[in-house]
């Protein structure tokens, strides 16, 4: 079966066709032969029956009258049928009466049958086989007038049947042969029609496979399944070809893009390397396993690493080498062995006196791998400069302290002077009130009453003066009460001012101790105090005050500093208004908060400040006032700064007025004065072991 499977399709189909053909022929011919045998046997029997019946009838009289000659003549008529090899007539008693044995028959065919075969055989028989020993043996009764008077025995040769069969066989064989030849030729022709496209297709496939040439096409020869198969194959080839082309285009594009990208990358790398080499820092990049990814030239030069060691790029070797140059070799190695932390910062003291900053920056690659970039910065010069600076600032501090004492003294005098102004005003007011007191009226009234003491009731009821006396007395009482109240208020103010002077003096005393008293202050109240302190000045100069206060939270600060600033600002504003010479003199005081800061603004419509003076108003010694000493704003700005806030000015120019803003942090800041902020010094993790890392100390 396998051999059949491996045969070429043509041969396979030919074999199948031949086999089918042969089977069909064999079946047909077998049927024909079988049918022929059966029908010729039947015909033979029929033939024998008709001949026998005729002979039996014709020989009846001869047998009845025992005319053997006549019987022989009758039997002799059988000679026309050369298939009859023998015939015998027996009488009723079974004795042989007449016989027919042609000399042409063989002895076996001629011989007289045994009596039992005569007895037993009868014809036509439904059960027995009349064909025995190669002969058809027939026995027929001979009857005369319905009475059986004898038996006819007839033996026929089956040679004809055999010959017929042989002829038939020859015929069938030749027909089969001829049919096979014709079928073979036909099938060759027809199969070629079926198989040729397949073979062509196979050839095309082989050509495509071996040459990889997808432009080949199979030729279609019909619209059958093979034709459709070829169509499908060609379509597939077309598809492959177009895909191929697309692929090729895409590959070309990709190559071009890769080239461009590679060039870009190379350029970036160049830039990167140039940048790396250009940095003042030594950079060493390590991967997750601590192996060296890259480093720059600066790294090698600052550590003085030999070229051959760099070329080998072994981290352990490098670390060991580097450690030998560090002052505390053991500590350095220990630190290097610890796992990295992002932002880790150390100062490294080298044996040769240099100081390096070691800064670790962890980096995560897109692949999730974590490596580290170690930065070394030579800060030897900076450390040296730092220490020099520290020394200089210490000396400066001492100098300035001495200078400051003078400044402080000036400030105290100034402030006390300011307050004394208010004290003077209060005193003047009180003495004015006392001078204009209605005490004389009281005395006159007392005299009047004493004069009319005898007829006092009449005087009080009838005399016009006496009638007005109670009204006058009550008016006098209320006037006296008002005078007293004003005097008391002025005295209270006087008392407050004296307290303020005390505070100023105390502040001056405490200035050396650089500490202040923190209080929780209501700023609206503080502004009110400031206004009261300037009340005389304001009234004297006819300045109206507009207040616009928001509800602001209380604030914790050094009260007298803020008070001093505000008093100073209001006084300056009233002076500016007076100096402007305009009729409407107004100061607007605002209080606002944005939740983080509190702003107090003092806005006047006075002389204003020229642009060039805006920068100088806070400078020590600057003043535009005839009798000013240029200390107030300078001191105020310093105080504001000490409270963590600021004092700023805004003016659109001369004649347009000015706005001063005191800005204070709502969250209480340390009132301790701090040294100026050092911007060159970020605050990374300082090595506590290195005193140089605390520049503010």
């Amino acid at each position: 079966m396998n051999t059949l499977r491996d045969l070429p399709v043509t041969r396979k189909l030919t074999i199948i066709a031949a086999l089918t053909n042969a089977v069909a022929l064999v079946l047909t011919c077998g049927t024909i032969i079988a049918f022929d045998i059966i029908s010729s046997r039947k015909a033979m029997i029929r033939n024998a029956l008709s001949i026998g019946t005729m002979i039996a009838e014709n020989s009846a009289a001869a047998l009845a009258f025992r005319d053997k000659e006549a019987a022989a003549v009758t039997l002799g008529s059988l000679s026309v049928d050369d298939q009859v090899t023998a015939a015998f007539i027996y009488d009723a008693d079974g004795r042989l009466f007449a016989s027919y044995q042609p000399p042409t028959s063989s002895p076996k065919a001629r011989k007289i049958p045994p009596p039992e075969s005569i007895r037993m055989s009868s014809f036509p028989s439904t059960t027995g086989n009349p064909f025995t020993r190669g002969f058809l043996e027939t026995s027929l009764g001979i009857h005369a007038a319905g009475e059986r008077i004898g038996t006819l025995y007839l033996r026929r040769d089956m040679k004809e049947l055999r010959e017929n069969l042989i002829h038939l066989g020859y015929m069938v064989a030749s027909v089969m042969l001829a049919a096979s030849v014709v079928a073979f030729i036909l099938s060759r022709r027809l199969l070629a029609m079926v198989v040729k496209p397949v073979i062509d297709l196979e050839g095309t496939i082989r050509a495509v496979a071996s040459r990889k040439d997808f432009s080949l096409r199979a030729t279609k020869q019909g619209e059958d399944e093979v034709g459709r198969l070829i169509d499908g194959f060609n379509e597939m080839l077309g598809e492959i070809q177009s895909r191929d082309r697309e692929l090729e285009t895409a590959r070309d594009e990709l190559e071009a893009r890769v080239e461009v990208r590679t060039a870009e990358l190379a350029r970036s790398l160049e830039v990167l390397h140039a940048t790396l080499d250009a940095t003042a820092d030594g950079i060493l990049a390590l991967n997750r396993d601590g192996e060296i990814n890259c480093f720059n030239a600066r790294y090698a030069s600052m550590w003085g690493i030999p070229d051959d060691m760099l070329a080998r790029g072994k981290r352990d070797e490098l670390l060991a080498f580097v450690a030998t140059r560090v002052a505390d070799e053991r500590a350095y190695l220990e630190r290097a062995a610890q796992p990295w932390r992002d932002g880790e910062f150390h100062l490294v003291q080298l044996k040769d006196g240099r100081v390096f900053e070691r800064y670790i920056h962890l980096r995560a690659n897109p692949g999730g791998e974590v490596g580290a970039v170690i930065n070394f910065r030579d800060i030897t010069d900076r450390v040296r400069a730092d220490s020099e600076l520290k020394l200089a600032s210490k000396q400066l501090l001492e100098t300035s302290h001495r200078a400051g004492m003078a400044e402080v003294a000036t400030s105290v005098l100034h402030n006390v002077g300011n307050v004394l102004n208010s004290v003077n005003v209060s005193c003047a007011v009180v003495s004015d009130r006392v001078a204009r007191s209605r005490v004389a009226s009281v005395a006159r009234t007392a005299t009047l009453i004493a004069d009319h003491s005898a007829d006092l009731p009449a005087f009080l009821t009838t005399h016009p003066t006496g009638q007005n006396l109670p009204g006058f007395l009550s008016k006098l009482a209320s006037a006296l009460a008002a005078d007293q109240a004003e005097a008391l208020r002025e005295l209270q103010l006087l008392h407050k001012n004296l307290d303020h002077i005390k505070e100023i003096v105390a502040m001056q005393q405490s200035y050396a101790k650089v500490s202040g008293v923190l209080e929780t202050v209501d700023l609206a109240e503080l502004i009110g105090d400031s206004l009261r302190m300037n009340e005389g000045t304001l009234r004297h100069r006819g300045v109206t005050v507009v207040q616009d206060f928001q509800d602001v939270p209380q604030i914790t600060l050094e009260r007298h500093k803020a008070l001093q600033i505000m008093v100073n600002l209001i006084r300056n504003a009233s002076h500016a208004c007076a100096d402007s010479g305009r009729q409407e003199r107004q100061i607007a005081i605002g209080l606002t908060s944005d939740g983080e800061w509190i702003e107090m603004t003092v806005k006047d419509n006075g002389t204003g400040i020229s642009r060039e003076n805006l920068d100088r108003v806070f400078a020590h010694g600057f003043t535009t006032k005839r009798n000013g000493h240029g200390f107030g704003l300078h001191n105020g700005a310093l105080a504001a700064h000490e409270m963590g806030g600021s004092l700023t000015v805004r003016s659109d120019g001369p004649g347009t007025g000015a706005t001063f803003t005191l800005r204070l942090p709502l969250a209480a800041r340390c009132g301790i004065p701090t040294a100026p902020h050092s911007p060159q010094n970020p605050s990374p993790q300082h090595d506590p072991s290195d005193p140089a890392s605390h520049p503010g100390g």
């Binding site: 014709n58 009846a60 009289a61 001869a62 009845a64 009258f65 025992r66 005319d67 006549a70 009488d91 009723a92 008693d93 007895r119 009868s122 009764g141 009857h143 005369a144 007038a145 319905g146 009475e147 059986r148 038996t151």
Partner: protein, 189 residues
Amino acid sequence: MSDPFPTRCGAGRWISRLATAAACAIVATAHAAEPSREYELKAAFLYNFAKFVEWPELAAQPNQPITIGVYRNNPFGNALVQAVAGRKILGHPVVVKQIHHAAAARGVQVLFVSAALDPALPELLQALKNAPVLTVGESATFASKGGIITFLLKDDSLRFSINAPAAHQSGLKISSQLQKLATQPAGKP
């Protein structure tokens, strides 16, 4: 068409066998000319003639017997009676009857007239004129006088001739087979 062999048994079979045996013996010893043997054969022939002849009136009467008459002189002795005993032809029983008068001869189907009665023949045949009676005789002139079948002895064998016109005249149908077996009458071309 039934086969008589398997069913045939009893006395009839034996008689038939004896008769046939006797006939054969007569044929074999014809030279001896023993009258009895010759007549035994002739008796068998008489019976067989009846088988090959058709009587027009018998066809309609199946039970009527076929009567074989022996005119006056009986040369058969008992042989004829034995030959027909128990036999039937197409259903008709066969009987033998002695006929003494010519007038009575008309009632039989077969009438045997022995040679000795030659002189009485014209009177007899005249009486049987146009009657359906198969006349069988022995003398050489029997046919010429109007008899239908005449026994002959030829080459030591018993043969017979048939006078076809006479048979035709009497209204009998004689089987062609019988006619074929018959010897042509002498004197006729």
